[in-house]
């Protein structure tokens, strides 16, 4: 069972800071990490390999430095990593990234299964896995909360909001996974140390021959400001609690909220 896992190096949005004046994200030097759901995809691939054998290859694409994420991928236990690095990918949209990843997967060669996180930690578009499948011309089994491979088929429980669909498909297929699917392993220190020495395959856009013309343009991205009343009642002194609460309840009553 040869598995390709698509991994994105995302901004760590839990730590991302925003400029208080403009509301814009402060991206320069902002911490990055392996996207949460992609990490589950890699974990799932490694688990399948443990029972079914075969190879786990990760592909990643991006505009910036990928060394850290490559190290993390190796430390978890992937056999090979292909990284597409090109400045042109800095502002690439999901359509372009999916084309690049699909082309990289074909470059890897043999694969029975492609696993992706259903959405990335920073982008949250939920689009890339289905687009990869469309580009490869193979089925997508989206939003898997469980996955098994048996008798040459992949079977998922796919959480599609209003219902859970149990899908079965011939291989090869693309499966996108949700956070619930597993708890990813924490690599051992020895594995982390070894990982930093492993070489990875670098691919350029010209190697892949993919057009990454953006179909979309981000006009602005900032933290929205919502005007609030900012009325504060002081009850820091226990004697004032009654008055503060009464005033609050009065206001809420006036607004028909209670």
């Amino acid at each position: 069972m040869d598995i390709v896992v698509c991994v994105k190096q995302s901004y760590d949005v839990q730590q991302l800071k925003f400029d208080p004046a403009t509301g814009e994200p402060m991206l320069a030097g902002a911490p990055k990490k392996m996207s949460d759901m992609d990490k589950r995809a890699l974990e799932e691939a490694l688990k399948i390999k443990e029972t079914a054998g075969g190879k786990v290859v990760a592909v990643t694409a991006g505009g910036g430095e990928v060394k850290e994420v490559v190290k993390e991928i190796y430390a978890m236990g992937a056999d090979e990593v292909y990284a597409v690095m090109d400045d042109a990918l800095k502002d690439a949209d999901t359509t372009a990234i999916a084309k690049v990843l699909a082309a990289a997967i074909q470059k890897v060669g043999n694969y029975d299964l492609v696993l992706c996180g259903a959405a990335s930690t920073d982008g949250y578009s939920w689009q890339v896995p289905a687009k990869i499948a469309a580009n490869l011309g193979i089925p997508i089994l989206p939003n898997a909360v469980s996955l098994k491979v048996e008798d040459g088929k992949v079977i998922t429980e796919s959480d599609l909001g209003d219902a859970v669909y149990v899908y079965s498909s011939d291989l090869p297929a693309v499966v996108s996974v949700m956070l619930e699917i597993n708890e990813p392993r924490i690599p051992k220190l020895s594995a982390i140390l070894k990982a930093s020495r492993k070489p990875f395959n670098q691919l350029s856009l010209s190697d892949l021959g993919v057009d990454v013309d953006a179909k979309m343009e981000v006009l602005s991205a900032r933290m929205p400001k919502v005007a609030r009343k900012n009325v504060v009642f002081d009850a820091s002194d226990a004697a004032k609690v009654d008055e503060a609460v009464s005033k609050l309840v009065e206001e809420l009553h006036k607004e028909n909220l209670i």
Binding site: F18, Q127, A133, L160, A163, S169, M216, P224, V245, H253
Partner: protein, 307 residues
């Protein structure tokens, strides 16, 4: 310029929201795509000028590539300038495949769409903390609008139904469909009371549950209480649940931007926190600076007097 807009949702409420969005971008005519549900195709006539309806024994249950193939065929017939899709998990996966096939721009997680020399969509970005304005540079452009983003349009008349024949490949097999048990979901509650780190013990949540019950709502927790302390399976805020109730009450919630990102669309925000410098007060309509263990019982008592 009047736009020709194609809309796709699997349910009545979703369809009516998309009709409102289509009108917002100046739709000259609205077509609806309906797959595998004849009854719903008849229903859709009341909102759309034209309904493209496809059915076969292979389209009874939702399958991503097959439904996308149908939609692609309908796009060819309707030749829309804009395709608006309900931003549900199914809608987004279908829209993604369609976008890849048509090499078209596709914005998901959108809350607004407008026309300004093409389509511009507003979507959440950076995990929901920020909002981005995105210009779609293809025609058609595809926008997946999050449920609840637009009001539900009223019936507008009687459109016509055109049957569409599409050959779909076998693809994936649907083994089983299991409906999900959903109680009052936090994202649907009109009042949401959220516990933050100021709440000292898990047992103290019962006090907030009582408050939520009296106010007619539900209780949620912030990320640390869920991810670190496991008091609840999910949290309110970025990468958890986003809520937009009429009334949000943050109890002992400091108000990190990642939390605010998930509650920002609440109509009225109330904060109770002992720290006068807690960032949540900047995002609140009403705040009480004080110890939640004295404020909440008093609040409960007063609210009950109004009920």
């Amino acid at each position: 310029m009047l736009m020709n807009v194609l809309i796709y949702s699997e349910n009545d409420g979703g369809l009516r929201e998309l009709v409102s969005a289509a009108k917002e971008i100046g739709a000259g005519s609205i077509s609806a795509a309906v797959i595998g549900n004849r009854e719903f195709a008849e229903q859709a006539k009341k909102y759309a000028n034209k309904v493209y309806f496809a059915d076969s024994d292979k389209l009874g249950e939702f399958r991503p590539a097959e439904y996308a193939a149908v939609l692609e065929e309908i796009v060819k017939k309707a030749n829309p300038d804009a395709v608006l899709v309900e931003g549900s998990p199914k809608g987004v996966v279908v829209a993604s495949i369609l976008a890849a096939k048509l090499d078209a721009a596709c914005v998901s997680e959108a809350s607004q769409v407008r026309a300004d020399d093409g389509l511009i969509a507003v979507r959440s970005s950076y995990g929901g903390v920020a909002q981005a304005e995105i210009k779609l540079k293809t025609s058609p452009g595809i926008v997946c609008l999050k449920p609840g983003s637009y009001p539900k349009a009223d019936e507008a008349g009687e459109g016509e139904v055109e049957e569409v024949q599409v050959e779909v490949s076998p693809g994936v097999e649907v083994v089983e469909v299991r409906g999900k048990e959903v109680g009052l979901r936090l994202e649907d509650a009109e009042v949401v009371v959220v516990a933050g780190r100021g709440v000292k013990k898990k047992e103290d949540l019962s006090m907030l549950e009582e408050l939520a019950e009296v106010l007619g709502g539900a209780v949620g927790v912030t990320r640390p209480l869920s991810a670190d302390l496991h008091w609840a399976p999910n949290w309110v805020g970025m990468s958890g649940v986003a809520v937009k109730p009429k009334l949000y009450v943050g109890v002992g919630v400091s108000g990190q931007i990642q939390h605010i990102a998930g509650v920002r669309d609440s109509k009225t925000i109330v904060a109770i926190n002992s720290d006068p410098n807690a960032p949540i007060f900047e995002h609140a309509d009403y705040g009480i600076i004080g110890d939640l263990y004295t404020v909440v019982p008093k609040l409960l008592e007063r609210v009950k007097q109004y009920k």
